[in-house]
């Protein structure tokens, strides 16, 4: 098993290097002279030159990349152009809000998706409900769903806050209340994807001979489904749910703006609007790292539950 993990880690290195080089080169792909554009028309040539150096636009790209990567590995991405603060500091302060939302919506979508999937695999009435839910969840974009939830729960009924954020350590009650709407808005589409997958996977497993044997020896339907079938049916779901983490992260970018929450999404959008390249580069690299890690975890988990894959 250790060998398997090490091999997967080694395989991830070239992808990460390629991606980081792509991220580094982003600024050089900007049409025109980004340093001159950022410095504005009233700037002196010295200021433009200084900015050019700050963006690693001078000299040999490969040398500059190695230099940039060396700093990046130590968590040093330079200073944000719009805030003047170290990028790493900005990311650290905004991370918690996004993490909260990400974890909450992952749990929400897992519970709803797997639960509905199990029900739908065995009853046509539930399957109909599940289809209706999935059709709606996939048809209505995440941020539109968020806005509609705001209209109903905040504006009409005034039950839940329209935005805001609190840390779980300082005010758990407010943190939970602020999380409900964004979590539902973000998690619905993921749970729809999971539900379809769980249903298909479970139906397939329920057709197996060993399930017939289990039923024939008089086990209750509950035991057959929950302990015999579900265990095998959930193996592919692990991978799919891990891949959904990337989607959740991308959705969080937009949902954070809908619910005026702080977080990495707001940081990305503000960064792109202000052309704050050091900030954008660091954030994209962070996302790439997370995606690669999540895929790795999915593979390893897959190997853990299914020994055949390790070979």
């Amino acid at each position: 098993m250790t060998q398997y993990i090490v091999r997967r880690l080694v395989e991830a290195v070239p992808v990460l290097l390629l991606a980081s080089f792509g991220v580094f080169m982003l600024v050089r792909f900007v049409p025109g002279d980004p340093a001159a554009q950022l410095a504005g028309p009233d700037s002196t040539p010295q200021q433009v030159q200084q900015l050019r150096e700050q963006l690693h636009l001078t000299g040999n790209p490969v040398v500059q990349y190695v230099h940039w990567l060396g700093n990046a590995v130590q968590g040093n991405f330079g200073n944000s152009l719009q805030y003047g603060l170290p990028v790493a500091h900005l990311i650290r302060t905004q991370m918690e809000a996004t993490l909260q939302l990400g974890i909450a919506s992952y749990l929400f979508s897992m519970i709803l998706g797997v639960g509905l999937g199990i029900l739908a695999a065995r009853s046509s009435a539930w399957s109909f409900i599940a289809n209706a839910f999935a059709g709606l969840a996939i048809g209505v974009p995440t941020f539109v769903l968020g806005i509609l939830l705001l209209v109903l729960f905040s504006a009409r009924w005034g039950i839940l806050p329209s935005g805001g954020w609190a840390s779980f350590t300082s005010d758990p009650g407010k943190a939970l209340k602020d999380l409900i709407l964004p979590t539902v808005a973000l998690g619905c589409i993921t749970s729809a994807v999971l539900l379809r997958f769980v249903r298909a996977s479970l139906r397939q497993v329920l057709d197996n001979d060993y399930i017939r044997t289990a039923r024939a020896k008089g086990l209750s339907e509950r035991t057959v489904v929950m302990t015999h079938a579900l265990r095998n049916a959930l193996i592919p779901v692990i991978t799919v749910s891990a891949l959904q983490v990337g989607r959740l992260l991308a959705g969080a970018l937009v949902i954070e703006l809908v619910f005026t929450r702080p977080g990495l999404g707001r940081l990305v959008v503000d960064g792109v609007r202000a052309r704050d390249y050091p900030l954008i580069q660091a954030l994209i690299l962070l996302f790439v790292l997370v995606f690669i890690l999540v895929n790795l975890v999915a593979d390893v988990a897959y190997g853990l539950v299914d020994p055949r894959i390790r070979q």
Binding site: P141, I147, L150, V151, G246, R247, G251, L253, V258, V269
Partner: protein
Amino acid sequence: MTSPAATLDDAWQGVDQRRTSLAGRWLKTFVRSPAAVVSVAILIVLIVVAYAVPPVFGLDPLAQISGARLLQPSSAHLFGTDELGRDLLARCLVGLQLSIQVAIASAVLGGVVGILVGYAAAYMHGIVDSILMRLTDTMLAFPNILMAIVVVAVLGTGVRNVVVALAITNIPLFARIARAAMLSELGQVYVEAARASGCSPVRLIFRHVAPNTLTPLVVQLALAMAFAILGEASLSYLGLGVQPPNPSLGNLLSTGQTYILSGAQYYVLFPAIVLALFLFSLNLLADAINDFADVNRRVR
């Protein structure tokens, strides 16, 4: 025993008949599928309304009517008016026009590039295939919308850059699908026959093989348009796409959202419904094409 000529003649007639009846069968299965009919009907209505209603009724999305700020929907303004006294019906419909144009442009642009990449990868295989597929894999590892944001970060905001961003985001999936379809066709006997009769690679790919790879690509085209509409709306919502005063479904939603709590809930409602309806019917259409293509494959 029949003469060879007679058998050939019979065979030819068989082919010909099958071809004519196949087209008929396509249409018949399509019309019989309620999902296909409903989705096409909704799409046609949306497109006609978006392009015909503003000029016919003289609606101007930018005209500000004094003293008509944030009016509730009424017979004079079916969707109400916005914070500057502009007619929201006009703004919604012009935004819808923009969505349709962005969807078609980016899906076609991304589709053409992606299909060419996919065909090239399948036909040349070996090292070219490996490199191209590693590249598409890396691109696919990114969630779509993040990919589009990255491109906008490089190119800047605005409609043209949004089209480019969404087109680039569409490339890898088209490439994958085109490659898979091409690969499965390249093993067929008719390809060998065409090669043996001295057909050039370009003619072989585009004349003989390409038509047989179209079905999954048409499905993907519908899905790519749905994604492009969602992508444009999201980017404009984030303030990275269409810039005010020009309307887009996305920026109508973001402006409208600020008036939710002050009672102007109709503001976001109409763009949201139009957007959801459009996406819903495109997804339905993609499903329907997929289903009836399956049926035809089975019949064939």
